[in-house]
């Protein structure tokens, strides 16, 4: 009984991290209409930057995050202005190919600089800290912290997109870029701000990922896959749905791992396929704000 409870708790706590991976992918697809297949690799790249910062400055990864955020935003803006705004987006395949090329460059660049050895961010004593609210049940403080950060990020994003003037613009552009441009919405500015939100999820997601798990130059693909599955299950347009979907995938992984460690990722994919068959529109389809 306590085993099951522990598995469920671990799944829920891990779900927040998966939701953060998915949040950025979902925004890029929903607003900029790009299937960003480099999303996982950008996460890994940011994790390596966090690793270098935390290693060379001998600071906690959480402190490194404060430096990583402006770096990531600046990097994203540079990419946006330097490459994305010059790409012909009338054919959706073109930006996808650009993303693919970017992914290959990131992977090989990281391989060249860091080799294949897996790295991890060292958060110190907090990693071993756990509380036991009931006998036999252990809750990792770090995992709780990750979930709390995920919930906070989603709450802020939900408020921006459904309660702010900028959010109205974002949703209009998401409905129809052409109509929004026609009536006078500044598409370029909307894209830049939305992409800054995406890069914020990348910085936060990268640090939390690096603390929670090992990563190497080729870890991007598996993170991308998780993000994709969460976006598809969660449906676009409702960010709390993204969190719930993250928890669904994470729970499946934890249940799979409890049977046999090698079943962990497979179980996540199976649940994803199952949801796709039963509810192809996602568990939480688009709602009107």
């Amino acid at each position: 009984m306590t085993d099951i409870a522990n598995i469920v708790i671990q799944g829920i706590l891990l779900g927040g991290l998966f939701a953060i991976y998915a949040l950025g992918l979902s925004l890029v697809f929903g607003v900029l209409r790009i299937v960003n297949i480099a999303h996982g690799d950008v996460l890994v790249l940011a994790a390596y930057v966090a690793f270098v910062l935390s290693d060379t400055l001998a600071i906690s990864p959480f402190l490194a995050l404060l430096i990583l955020i402006p770096l990531t935003l600046l990097g994203g803006l540079t990419f946006q202005i330097g490459i994305f705004e010059r790409v012909d987006r009338r054919d959706p395949l073109v930006p996808m190919l650009v993303a693919f090329g970017f992914a290959v460059v990131i992977q090989n660049g990281l391989l060249l600089l860091f080799g294949t050895n897996p790295r991890k961010l060292d958060a110190g004593a907090i990693e071993q800290l756990s509380v036991s609210p009931f006998p036999g049940i252990n809750v990792s403080v770090l995992a709780v912290l990750i979930l709390v950060i995920a919930i906070a990020l989603i709450a802020v994003f939900q408020a921006i997109i459904y309660r702010s003037r900028f959010g109205i613009q974002v949703r209009a552009v998401s409905d129809s870029e052409d109509n929004a441009r026609l009536i006078g919405v500044d598409i370029t500015a909307t894209f830049r701000k939305a992409f800054m939100m995406v890069m914020l999820t990348v910085a936060v997601g990268a640090v939390l990922m690096g603390i929670k798990t090992n990563f190497d130059p080729f870890s991007g693909a598996s993170r991308l896959l998780i993000a994709f599955e969460v976006v598809v299950i969660g449906g676009l347009g409702n960010l709390w749905g993204t969190l719930a979907a993250g928890i669904v995938i994470a729970l499946a992984q934890m249940v799979g791992a409890s049977i046999d460690v090698s079943y962990q990722t497979l179980a996540g994919h199976l649940v994803f396929l199952l949801v796709l068959v039963i509810r192809p529109q996602g568990l939480f389809p688009k709602v009107v704000g």
């Binding site: 026609l182 919405v185 009107v288």
Partner: protein
């Protein structure tokens, strides 16, 4: 504003626009004065919508010049035009399904680039929108969607309002209502450029008119002195009876 009030608010000179080999606008010139309602008449495909879109910066033109309030605004984007003080009520209304009625109207604030008008002012003009403010924007009636499109343009506090086929597909009583609103706006000092297929309505509601045929101005004058036969000729071309 220290602008010279004797000069036109909008001055379009010799505008050329083509889609591939097709000439949509072939040297169109027109003016709109402050506080004036000007109608552009013409059949389907005469270039009316192209003209409105070109003025608003939504359609790139190959040659010509546009002055707004004495300033050259040639080649600016719709967003820059909105911030300069031009509002667009687009053909087909362009209401966004993910936004509520109120959010569709508030979108106009973001377009104008400043604090915008008071939304209560829009709700005063169109009280039925206030009642349905939380309904999805595309679920209200066609007439109410047209009201949203006008309200959205007003939120950016324009000095010139471009109205593209606002009567299209609406009941005559609703169209009367919309034109009454436009009359009030003009009385309040706004200039309005209306594009209409429905000639009688446009002539009745305007002070001056231009007729477009195949991208050229074929007739113009004071609406009060408009001669129905001349407009029909200019509208359909000389070949028709």
């Amino acid at each position: 504003m220290t602008a010279d009030h004797s000069q036109p608010l909008l001055e379009v000179s010799d505008l050329h626009l083509r889609y591939g080999g097709l000439r949509a606008l072939d040297g169109v010139s027109l003016t709109v004065n402050r506080g004036e309602t000007v109608a552009v008449l013409g059949a389907n495909g005469a270039g009316k919508s192209s003209l409105i879109k070109a003025i608003y910066g939504a359609e790139p033109y190959s040659a010509g010049q546009i002055l707004f309030d004495g300033v050259a605004v040639t080649g600016r984007s719709p967003n820059q035009m909105a911030q300069a003080g031009i509002g667009l009520v687009p053909e087909g209304r362009k209401i966004f399904p993910s936004l509520s009625v109120e959010e569709n109207i508030r979108l106009g604030v973001a377009i104008g680039g400043h604090d915008g008008a008071d939304i209560d002012r829009v709700f005063e003009i169109f009280p039925e929108l206030k009642e349905r403010r939380n309904v999805q924007g595309t679920l209200v009636s066609g007439g109410q969607q047209q009201m949203i499109a006008i309200g959205r343009a007003l939120m950016a506090r324009p000095r010139l309002l471009l109205c593209d086929e606002i009567s299209l597909g609406l009941a005559p009583t609703v169209v009367d209502r919309l034109y009454d609103v436009i009359k009030d706006l003009v009385a309040g000092g706004m200039a309005v450029l209306i594009v209409e297929q429905e000639t009688n309505r446009a002539i009745k509601s305007s002070e001056r008119y231009y007729c477009l045929l195949e991208g050229r101005v074929t007739a113009q004058g004071l609406s009060a002195q408009a001669d129905q036969d001349e407009i029909t000729r200019a509208y359909f071309g000389g070949d028709h009876d």
